[in-house]
């Protein structure tokens, strides 16, 4: 019974992860694909690897929030079976809602779906008090804050690029001096989020030497190396260009940003994997945990099993490989006005915001954060024409998604408990 239940939930989780891979990953890579800095094939391979790495290395934090942070297992402590059933129903409800929404062409966030669904089952199974409303308040606040913070950061990054590189009399001379700082910052963010707790998963023996200080040291060293390499490569590429006409210099500098935007878009994919894998495997982790005790107790202090993270990463990869390339192609075709320099500014801002949220265990929407970042670049006068209606669509989508997913989850849980628990 318990094995079968885990397998079924794992299938739901895989399906949800597939959904994420098919629909969301294209957004993460949008800046690199839209600016024609990478081929479609390259984007899929890069995104696949980075999503997987993000999920496996940093995915456990948000996974724990979905697993036990929103609905406290203690509230259902007396009834581990109900907890497991509820999590499975929440997962199915979120996946079904996602399918319905994309079927009618409405872009909804997987994050909001799963959070709504988990809240729904919590309330119906153990009353309003089962939901940790403080945590829930933090999560909802982060949905407001993450696009705004992404926007402000992207605004500043683009101003730095525009004023200190593109706006100079000789952009080709300024680029090798300034661009490495951006490379340094981006690398530092990814390393800091990854090295300390992330590597402990995969290094056998727990890696006791890997303390916070060592992690910072490693991150610094890697970032400095990356910045130096960026400096050398850009300098070599722009050698002798600084005497050319302004128009040609600007073209050349944009070309320098092309490899950078590939890397930064991959880091958005990494951040996306680290945050959104939880939407698929958070409930699964809860079920695996409960099933492991023969449905006797609900643990609160166990780590997310490695195979569960891997399953999530694999599911995302599968979705990307089977369906995501089509979405990526249409997204890339539509957003050609983004250029590599804009992409770098938006990507670095979105990566930083999402990775910080991942480490703070907050499930946020990567797509919404990236939308905020792109709007930030627009406010800094960096883009041609942006549709401000999308902002309303974002709020509209989660105001609808959270209750809808919660309602579906309530429905499924009522049905499930009638069949299995009665």
């Amino acid at each position: 019974m318990s094995i079968l239940f885990v397998v079924i939930t794992a299938a739901f989780g895989l399906y949800m992860a597939w959904n994420i891979g098919a629909n969301d990953v294209a957004n993460s890579m949008a800046d690199a694909v839209g600016s024609r800095s990478i081929s479609l094939k390259g984007a899929i391979i890069g995104a696949g690897i980075c999503e997987f790495a993000g999920a496996v290395l940093v995915g456990s934090h948000v996974t724990n929030t979905v697993r036990k942070g929103i609905v406290s297992p203690e509230a259902l402590g007396g009834n581990p079976e109900a907890f497991a059933l509820g999590m499975a129903c929440a997962l199915l409800a979120a996946a079904l809602w996602l399918n319905c929404a994309s079927w009618v062409g409405m872009p909804v966030s997987t994050t909001h779906s799963i959070v709504g669904a988990v809240v729904g089952f919590g309330v119906i199974s153990a009353g309003i008090g089962a939901v940790d409303w403080t945590k829930m308040g933090q999560i909802v606040a982060s949905w407001f804050i993450s696009p705004v913070v992404g926007g402000v950061m992207a605004y500043l990054f683009f101003l730095i690029i525009a004023r200190l590189i593109l706006g100079r009399r000789k952009p080709a001379k300024a680029a090798p001096r300034i661009a490495p700082f951006i490379a340094f910052f981006a690398t530092m963010v990814v390393c800091l989020a990854t090295v300390y707790k992330g590597l402990k998963h995969i290094i056998s023996g727990g890696a006791s030497w890997l303390t916070g200080d060592v992690a910072i040291g490693i991150s610094l060293a890697v970032s400095i190396i990356v910045a130096l390499v960026a400096h050398i490569l850009i300098k070599r590429y722009l050698e002798g260009q600084e005497e050319r006409a302004m128009h040609d210099q600007l073209r050349a500098v944009e070309k320098c940003f092309a490899p950078m935007v590939v890397v930064t878009s991959c880091s958005v994919a990494f951040a996306h994997g680290s945050n959104d894998v939880a939407n698929a495997i958070g409930p699964l982790a809860a079920v695996v945990d409960v099933a492991g005790t023969g449905f006797q107790t609900v643990h609160t202090e166990v780590t997310v099993p490695f195979w569960v993270l891997t399953l999530g990463g694999f599911g995302i990869f599968l979705g990307l490989a089977t369906f995501g390339h089509r979405v990526m192609m249409t997204v890339g075709r539509k957003i050609t006005q983004i250029s590599p320099s804009r992409g770098v500014a938006a990507d670095v801002a979105a990566t930083t915001t999402v990775l910080v949220c991942s480490r703070l265990k907050l499930p946020v929407s990567t797509t919404h954060t990236l939308v905020g970042a792109i709007l930030g670049v627009g406010l800094a006068r960096g883009l041609g024409a942006l549709n401000r209606q999308v902002v309303q669509n974002i709020f509209g989508s989660w105001l609808l998604t959270v209750p809808a997913a919660a309602f579906l989850s309530v429905l499924l849980y009522s049905l499930g408990s009638f069949i299995f628990l009665a």
């Binding site: 600007l250 249409t330 797509t367």
Partner: protein, 224 residues
């Protein structure tokens, strides 16, 4: 439909440069038109008038396309009103060139030998004012690329800073020709005088249009 996909509209700056280029093509026909009028080559005037009319129509189409692609919900790096006025003003330059061509086309108006040099000088000044503006406006894409700031914006602003003075010079040349026309009034029939005045009016409207377009370009760069 992905949110990121919905977020992006069509950038107006590439078609804006295309519009500038179309208007520039019209402006480049002013001198050949004047030359043909001086030589009394009406076949050539007919042909040029057709070309101006066609090019003006093409510019109109680009203008309409830009406006259609920019519903109010889009957020731009320049003030919406400035962009609309800029397009309108730049388009009026092509309209005035067409007016000039039509004035030459509808009546065979001989240019009096005493007026030839002054007309040539005036036309040269008109074309120069337009060239200054168009060369600056054709930088629009690079301006957008640099976020409308820094060295590129400074150089464009500097290049159009002299437009007002150039327009004033053109005005002065126009007054000079007007005065001369009335000095020759005994030799000219009234209809010819009317058509000279029509030619002058069309030409001076071209320079006015160029000056106003330049002012709007400046406003778009500084954004307020």
């Amino acid at each position: 439909m992905s949110l990121i996909q919905e977020l992006f509209g069509e950038s107006p700056f590439e078609p804006l440069v295309e519009h500038t280029q179309k208007v520039h093509e019209c402006v480049e026909l002013i001198t050949p038109l004047m030359d043909a009028a001086i030589e009394g080559d009406y076949e050539e005037i007919h042909r040029l008038q057709d070309t101006v009319s066609e090019t003006e129509y093409e510019a109109d189409q680009v203008k309409n396309l830009i406006r259609e692609n920019l519903p109010r919900r889009y957020f731009l790096p320049v003030e919406r009103e400035d962009l609309d006025h800029f397009l309108h003003c730049q388009d009026s330059i092509a309209d005035s060139v067409e007016d000039f061509a039509v004035v030459l086309f509808i009546r065979r108006t001989e240019i009096h030998p005493d007026l030839v040099d002054d007309f040539r000088e005036f036309v040269e000044q008109v074309v120069q004012v337009c060239d200054t503006l168009m060369t600056a406006a054709e930088e629009m894409q690079d301006l957008a690329e640099t976020g409308f700031g820094g060295a590129e914006a400074d150089s464009v602003r500097e290049s159009i800073s002299g437009l007002g003075e150039d327009e004033w010079k053109a005005d002065r040349l126009q007054r000079k020709i007007s005065k001369q026309i009335y000095e020759l009034e005994d030799e000219l029939d009234p209809m010819t005088i009317i058509f000279y005045e029509k030619m002058l009016k069309a030409l001076s409207e071209i320079t006015n249009g160029a000056e106003n377009t330049g002012e709007l370009l400046r406003q778009m760069i500084i954004k307020h």
